[in-house]
């Protein structure tokens, strides 16, 4: 059974769990989450448009997050700023926006501008905001997993009480780093949550053809840590299940391995025409669009009206349009700036 079939048979809406204190709130937190998901979607769809404009406006590889918003936004709901850390591989736009990076800084980075979050030196795959605890955006599949272990190691070493969210795709689980880092994290009881954003396809190769063990949560077994699936399209489920893993890590009980099943509405990158997908599969997936699911739930719960939802949509559209306009007018880095940010210190005879 494909991931799509599996998530499709789950109920379209569900009541948030009783234990979730948000259920008793005035709805402002829920509205903020919905808005954030809408912002990420609007940002990504605009990114696609900007990418397709002539003149290499964005250039390079560009992987958008459309369809997976509930995971990043769910994490942002439990992420403690100033304490927790996040690191991920591809599709870092969504995570960066979720952790509070202004859309303008993101677009500026995509356009290679000096005002970008990495001064135009990182690009789509390398959004960083160290102060926010957002440790990037890494371009080698699986290469950041040991670094995530290191972030958690430092949290434990310094006894900060923080946890690290280390995200990667279903493609990364077949890298050797995955095995090595999971094993060491468990030995060290490092406060890290390993999160597989399972969108069912690694670049253009379906999970069924790339993973011998079809149940990806089982890939977390053998490392003596809890491992389970969650519905990655349901923001409330993400908050609840990830929250439990975070509590466990904060208590010093070590890492957890969570497979968040989701769906990628766009190709792996801009050059991917998604010929490996059928129309039927994509239609089915749209029924499980995380934003639509959440809108329906909030309407049912009386927390939002359709008019208010439309209003939110207008707001995020304007925010994205303004961000693009600002980023468009931002300067490119000075050519001599290319020699900056290589080393932290000055050495005698350092070559320029």
């Amino acid at each position: 059974m494909s991931v799509v079939d599996e998530v499709a048979k789950r109920p379209a809406t569900r009541k948030p769990p009783e234990s979730n204190s948000a259920a008793k709130s005035d709805g402002s937190a829920e509205r903020a989450r919905l808005r954030l998901m809408m912002l990420i979607r609007r940002f990504e769809e605009r990114t696609v448009q900007e990418y397709q404009k002539a003149g290499q406006k964005i250039g390079g590889f560009c992987h958008v997050y459309s369809g997976q918003e509930a995971i990043a936004v769910g994490i942002s709901a439990i992420f403690q700023k100033g304490k927790d850390q996040l690191i991920n591989g591809y599709r870092c736009h969504g995570h960066s926006l979720a952790l509070g990076m202004p859309a303008r800084d993101c677009f500026a980075e995509l356009f290679g501008k000096a005002t970008g979050c990495s001064k135009g030196k990182g690009g789509s795959m390398h959004f960083f905001d160290a102060e926010a605890g957002n440790n990037g955006g890494h371009g080698i599949v699986g290469g950041h997993i040991p670094v995530g272990l290191g972030l958690a190691f430092a949290q434990k070493y310094k006894n900060t009480g923080g946890v690290t969210f280390c995200l990667f795709g279903d493609g990364a689980i077949n890298q050797g780093t995955h095995n090595e880092a999971l094993n060491m994290a468990s030995l060290m009881k490092a406060p890290v949550i390993w999160i597989v954003e399972n969108n069912g396809v690694a670049m253009g190769t379906q999970v069924e053809r790339s993973s011998a063990e079809k149940d990806l949560a089982e890939r977390g077994s053998g490392y003596a840590m809890p491992h389970y699936h969650v519905d990655g399209n349901d923001v409330d489920t993400v908050i609840e299940k990830f929250g439990a893993a975070v509590e466990r890590a904060r208590k010093g009980e070590g890492p957890s391995y969570i497979v968040a099943d989701t769906y990628r509405f766009r190709g792996h990158s801009m050059s991917d025409a998604m010929k490996y997908r059928t129309k039927d599969e994509m239609e089915k997936a749209k029924l499980r669009d995380p934003i639509t699911l959440y809108e329906v739930r909030l309407r049912e719960q009386g927390l939002l009206t359709q008019e208010q939802i439309d209003q939110l949509q207008e707001e995020v559209s304007k925010e994205v349009a303004d961000a693009v306009a600002q980023a468009d007018n931002d300067p490119h880095p000075q050519l001599e700036d290319r020699f900056d940010d290589i080393l932290a210190e000055k050495y005698p005879y350092q070559p320029k």
Binding site: Q85, I87, G116, C117, S118, K119, G120, K121, G122, H126, F128, D129, A130, E131, N135, G136, G137, H138, G139, I140, G143, H144, I145, P146, V147, G148, L149, G150, L151, A152, F153, A154, Q155, Y157, K158, G176, T177, E180, A181, N183, M184, L187, D340, D341, I342, L343, A344, E345, Y347, P348, Y349, Q350, P351
Partner: protein, 355 residues
């Protein structure tokens, strides 16, 4: 992966006095290269609680080559950390923790094993500062045995200096004396950039005078003119310098009347080109010696840095003495034969001197 265990020979063949920046009044101790490394790590760990040591067998086993002997007892398992045989995981761990303000020292039993974690060192340690627009400092030291040791065969004998010295974002250090080993390692631990610190299993028993002042350091990026001379500039570093270059310099003086100016580079990136060029201006001749393969080897890089600025002062093309371009053979005689020898260096020097 089979791991070598070299016999620990307490006697040294080439005890030498320390040079470098040490104050002559500084108290000296006669230390092995490994003891000098241990002293550097111990002093820096006492100075800064953010410094820790991680690697295979560094703790309970007291270090595969006994560099970290006794450090677990002194600092405990929080700071002296044994790992599984997982180079990618623990080198990446070090990078992540360095981004968070810790100062890890990673011990690789052999730099040959780092082929499996070059991604961590290059894409993460060296690139993350640049890719993030300068948001991170990555103060990590990767250290361990580099190069040909003794009949370890092709897989365990790699000279990795040219692999790392070409990477912007990394510092590459290769000491050739116990005193420099201590002083440079202390500078490397205090440094805010990722440092590739290369040693040699075959040098760990070498004895030398080492200052025991806790503030003794040797600066990164500054070469050492080890011997003044007027006839030819000889540029080398690390094990080649210790194994064949110094004996060759003596033979050239004693048997051929050639007065060599000997430069120990100590840091390979950023390279101290100024000291080399000043020397060539005086001698008008230059020979580079290392144990790397020649093509795209470390010496090729050094040559590229010297050739143009030194051209007007050169009376002969720069010579480069390197290892034969073959996988490192297991057989002792073949292994010896592939490496630069005293004879090869003497011929190269005679050639540039037209003698």
């Amino acid at each position: 992966m089979a791991r070598p265990c070299l016999l620990l020979n307490p006697t040294s063949r080439h005890g030498r006095a320390a040079r470098g920046t040490a104050d002559r009044t500084t108290p000296m101790a006669q230390l092995q290269f490994r003891q000098a490394l241990r002293a550097a790590m111990t002093e820096e760990m006492e100075r800064d609680e953010n410094v820790f040591l991680i690697g295979e067998e560094v703790a309970e086993y007291n270090g595969a080559y006994k560099v970290s002997e006794g450090m677990l007892d002194k600092f405990g398992p929080k700071r002296i950390i044994d790992t599984p045989i997982s180079e990618a995981a623990f080198s990446g761990l070090a990078v992540g923790s360095a981004c968070m303000g810790l100062r890890p020292i990673v011990e690789f039993m052999s730099w040959s094993f780092t082929w499996v974690c070059i991604d961590q060192i290059v894409n993460n340690a060296a690139n993350v500062r640049y890719m993030s627009g300068g948001q991170y400092k990555v103060p990590v030291v990767f250290r361990g045995g580099n190069g040909i040791a003794h009949q370890l065969g092709a897989t365990h004998s790699h000279r990795m200096e040219s692999v790392y010295a070409r990477i912007p974002g990394l510092i590459v250090v290769h000491p050739s004396t116990p005193a420099d080993a201590k002083g440079l390692l202390k500078s490397s631990i205090r440094c805010d950039d990722p440092v590739i610190f290369l040693e040699s299993e075959k040098m760990l028993n070498e004895l030398g005078e080492v200052p025991d002042d806790a503030d003794y350091t040797v600066p990164i990026g500054v070469a050492n003119v080890e011997r003044q001379g007027k006839d030819v500039t000889l540029v080398s570093y690390g094990r080649a310098l210790q194994r064949v270059v110094r004996p060759a310099v003596k033979a050239l003086a004693d048997d051929h009347g050639i007065d060599v100016e000997l430069i120990d580079l100590r840091t390979l990136r950023p390279m101290d080109t100024k000291t080399c060029i000043e020397s060539i201006k005086k001698t008008n001749r230059c020979v580079i010696v290392d144990e790397d393969w020649g093509y795209c080897g470390m010496g090729s890089g050094i040559l590229q840095k010297l050739q143009k600025p030194a051209f007007d002062y050169l009376d002969a093309p720069i010579e480069y003495v390197h290892s034969d371009e073959i996988p490192v053979p297991f057989n002792h005689y073949l292994e010896e034969a592939m490496m630069p020898s005293v004879d090869r260096i003497v011929s190269a020097v005679k050639e540039v001197c037209y003698r």
